[in-house]
C-alpha cells in the first residue's frame, strides 16, 4: 500500500510526517531517514542541505514516488511533481524539443497542444531557438535547462494543465562549471518567480542554498534527521554572508560529530 496521499488543502504543496526509510533487512538494515517532518507551502522554495549520506536524495525520491517510505506519511497536492536530477539525462536520440514533448506525449496530449506547450517551455528557459538540436550539440548548462523544461512539462498533466505546483531538484547544478552554475541559479529563480511553483532543492552547497532558498533545512547524516531550519528570505549583502557563515558552522559541527 502506498503511503502517498493527495492533499485536499491548498495551504501545503507537500507534507512529510514522521517519514522513515530503512534499506535492507535484519541486522544489515541501514536507516537512511529517521522521522523526517517537513512542510512546504505552495510557491515556497525550500533547500535541503546536508553532507553525503544524509539521505537528502532519498527524501526527494520518496516525494517523487520513485521509492516508498518504510513508515510515515507523504502528502502531495499534485499527482505528478516535476523532477530534475544531477544529470540532465536527456534521451540522446531525441531533439531538445522532442525531449520536452515526451512527457506530454506520454500523457496523451494532442499534437497541436504539445507543440505550443513545448515551445512555451523552451522559451521559458531561453532555448526557443535550439529546439531542433540534439543533446550532444548542447552545452551542459543548456542540457540542464532542457531538463528543467521537460520536468515542468511532466508536471502539467498531474496539475490539470496548470504550471507545475511542485518541482523537485536533486543537486541539478553541481556538475556544472562555476559561471554556468551562477547563471542557472539566477535562471531558476526567474522561472520560479514566473511559475510560482513550490521547489524542494537538494544541495550540499551552503551558498547555493542561501542564495536560492527562502528556507534552508539542515539534515544530519546516518540516519537523516532534521537538525535545524533557517529562514533566509530576501537576505542580501552582509546578512546573506552572516547566514552562510552560521549555517556553514552548524554543518561542520554535524559533520565532525561523525569523526570516529
Amino acid at each position: 500500500m502506498t503511503m502517498t496521499a493527495t492533499l485536499e488543502a491548498t495551504e501545503t504543496a507537500v507534507r512529510l510526517t514522521g517519514v522513515r526509510k530503512t534499506f535492507g533487512h535484519g541486522n544489515r538494515a541501514v536507516t537512511a531517514l529517521d522521522g523526517i517532518d517537513l512542510r512546504v507551502a505552495p510557491g515556497e522554495f525550500v533547500c535541503l542541505l546536508g553532507a553525503s549520506g544524509c539521505g537528502k536524495t532519498t527524501v526527494l525520491n520518496l516525494i517523487a514516488g520513485l521509492d516508498e517510505p518504510s513508515s510515515g506519511k507523504i502528502e502531495l497536492t499534485t499527482s505528478r511533481p516535476a523532477v530534475m536530477f544531477q544529470e540532465a539525462a536527456l534521451m540522446p536520440w531525441l531533439t531538445a524539443a522532442r525531449n520536452v514533448e515526451l512527457p506530454l506525449r506520454l500523457a496523451g496530449v494532442r499534437k497541436a497542444d504539445r507543440e505550443t506547450r513545448t515551445q512555451e517551455l523552451l522559451d521559458l528557459v531561453r532555448l526557443g531557438g535550439v529546439g531542433d538540436k540534439r543533446p550532444h550539440e548542447l552545452s551542459g548548462g543548456m542540457r540542464q535547462r532542457v531538463a528543467l523544461a521537460r520536468a515542468l512539462a511532466s508536471a502539467l498533466d498531474g496539475n490539470r494543465g496548470e504550471a507545475a505546483s511542485l518541482l523537485l531538484m536533486d543537486e541539478p547544478f553541481s556538475a556544472l562549471d562555476a559561471i554556468t552554475r551562477d547563471v542557472l541559479q539566477g535562471e531558476l529563480l526567474r522561472v520560479w518567480q514566473t511559475t510560482r511553483t513550490a521547489v524542494v532543492f537538494v544541495t550540499h552547497d551552503v551558498r547555493e542554498a542561501v542564495r536560492l532558498g527562502q528556507r534552508v533545512v539542515l539534515l544530519s547524516s546516518k540516519p537523516g534527521r532534521v537538525v535545524q531550519e533557517w529562514s533566509v528570505t530576501g537576505l542580501t549583502g552582509a546578512d546573506e554572508l552572516d547566514a552562510v557563515a552560521e549555517i556553514n558552522a552548524r554543518l561542520r559541527e554535524v559533520i565532525s560529530s561523525h569523526a570516529a
Binding site: 517523487a64 514516488g65 520513485l66 505528478r80 511533481p81 523532477v83 536530477f85 544529470e87 539525462a89 534521451m91 540522446p92 536520440w93 515526451l102 512527457p103 506525449r105 506520454l106 500523457a107 531561453r126 535550439v130 540534439r134 543533446p135 550532444h136 550539440e137 548542447l138 552545452s139 551542459g140 548548462g141 543548456m142 521537460r150 520536468a151 511532466s154 498533466d157 498531474g158 559561471i179 554556468t180 551562477d182 547563471v183 539566477g186 535562471e187 526567474r190 542580501t236 549583502g237
Partner: protein, 295 residues
C-alpha cells in the same frame, strides 16, 4: 569607503545576454565532416586494394608457387568475366543472396522476442543465457551434418544452419543493447509518467537501438557465413546452384582461378551488404546520438 557588493541583477550586462554568450561559447562545435574524412573513407581502402593486387601480381610473376596454387590476378578476373558474360553469376548470386536474406529475416523475427525475454526475465537469462552465448562461439558449419540428417538435402537443412548461426548473435546484441541502457533513463521515464509499456516503447527500445543494430550487423555476417558453409558441404541438384556450390565445383575441378573467383564473389556480397545496408543505418543512428565513432 563602502565596499561595493556586486549584484548580477543590477550589473549593466543582463542575465539573458550572459546566458546567450555562455550558450554560444560552451555549445560543442558542430563542424561538418570535411573532405579529408571522405577521402579517408573512400580512397584509402581503394589504395589498399590496389596494393594487395600489385603484391599478388608480383608474387605470381616471381613464380614461387605453381600456377594451380596461385593463379594470376588477371586469370581470376577472366573467370569472373566469363560467368558474368554467360549470365550465370546472377543465378549464383540470386540463389545465395535470397536464401541469406530470408534466413536473416527469419532469424530477426525469432531472435528479437528471444532477446527481449533474455534481457527482461532473469529466470530465462539464468536458464538459457549461457547456452545462447555458447552457441554464438560454436562454428555453424558444425551443424551441417546434423541438419542434413534431420532434413535431408533440402532448403530446410540450409535454413536450419543459417538460423543456428544468426539467431544467437542477434539475440545477444539486443541483450547487450538493453543491458547498456544507463539506469537513469528508465528512472527519468518513470518520473515523466511512463508506465511499463510506454517505458518499453519510448525509452528502452530506442535506447537499446545501437546495440541491437550491431547485433543485426553481426547476425547478417553469421547468416552469410553459415549459408556458405552449408552450400559448400550440402550440394545437390535440388538445392539450386549458389555461390557455395560454385566454389564446391571449383574444388572438384581443381581449378584454382575458379576457387579464387568464388571466394572473391562471396567476399564482395558480404562486404557489399554490410557497406550498403548496415553501415549507413548504424552511422545514422550513432551520429544522431553524437556517438560518431563510426563513419
Amino acid at each position: 569607503m563602502p565596499r561595493e557588493v556586486l549584484d548580477p541583477d543590477k550589473s549593466t550586462v543582463d542575465t539573458a545576454s550572459v546566458e546567450a554568450g555562455l550558450d554560444a561559447l560552451d555549445a560543442p562545435p558542430t563542424g561538418s565532416r570535411s573532405r579529408r574524412n571522405l577521402f579517408r573513407a573512400v580512397v584509402s581502402p581503394i589504395i589498399a586494394m590496389v596494393i594487395t593486387v600489385v603484391i599478388w601480381q608480383v608474387l605470381w610473376s616471381a613464380a614461387i608457387w605453381p600456377e594451380y596454387q596461385l593463379p594470376a590476378p588477371l586469370t581470376v578476373g577472366e573467370q569472373i568475366w566469363k560467368i558474368t558474360q554467360t549470365g550465370q553469376v546472377w543465378e549464383f548470386l540470386w540463389v545465395s543472396v535470397h536464401r541469406a536474406v530470408i534466413g536473416f529475416l527469419v532469424s530477426v523475427a525469432v531472435a528479437t522476442p528471444l532477446g527481449l525475454l533474455l534481457a527482461k526475465v532473469p529466470l530465462v537469462r539464468a536458464a538459457i543465457g549461457p547456452l545462447i552465448s555458447g552457441l554464438q562461439s560454436l562454428p555453424s558449419v558444425a551443424w551441417v551434418p546434423a541438419a542434413v540428417l534431420w532434413f535431408g538435402l533440402t532448403d530446410g537443412a540450409i535454413y536450419t544452419v543459417v538460423l543456428l548461426g544468426a539467431v544467437p548473435s542477434i539475440a545477444n546484441g539486443l541483450v547487450s543493447g538493453i543491458d547498456q541502457i544507463p539506469p537513469i533513463l528508465p528512472r527519468v521515464g518513470k518520473v515523466l509518467g511512463a508506465g511499463r509499456l510506454d517505458s518499453a516503447r519510448y525509452i528502452l527500445l530506442p535506447a537499446a537501438l545501437p546495440g541491437y543494430l550491431s547485433g543485426l550487423k553481426q547476425g547478417w555476417a553469421f547468416s552469410w557465413r553459415s549459408l556458405m558453409a552449408a552450400e559448400l558441404i550440402a550440394t545437390s541438384p535440388q538445392l539450386g546452384f549458389g555461390l557455395g556450390q560454385y566454389l564446391h565445383n571449383a574444388m572438384s575441378l581443381s581449378d584454382m582461378s575458379m576457387v579464387m573467383a568464388g571466394i572473391l564473389l562471396i567476399f564482395l556480397v558480404g562486404v557489399g551488404i554490410e557497406l550498403l545496408v548496415f553501415r549507413p543505418m548504424e552511422s545514422a543512428v550513432l551520429r544522431a546520438r553524437g556517438l560518431s565513432g563510426a563513419l
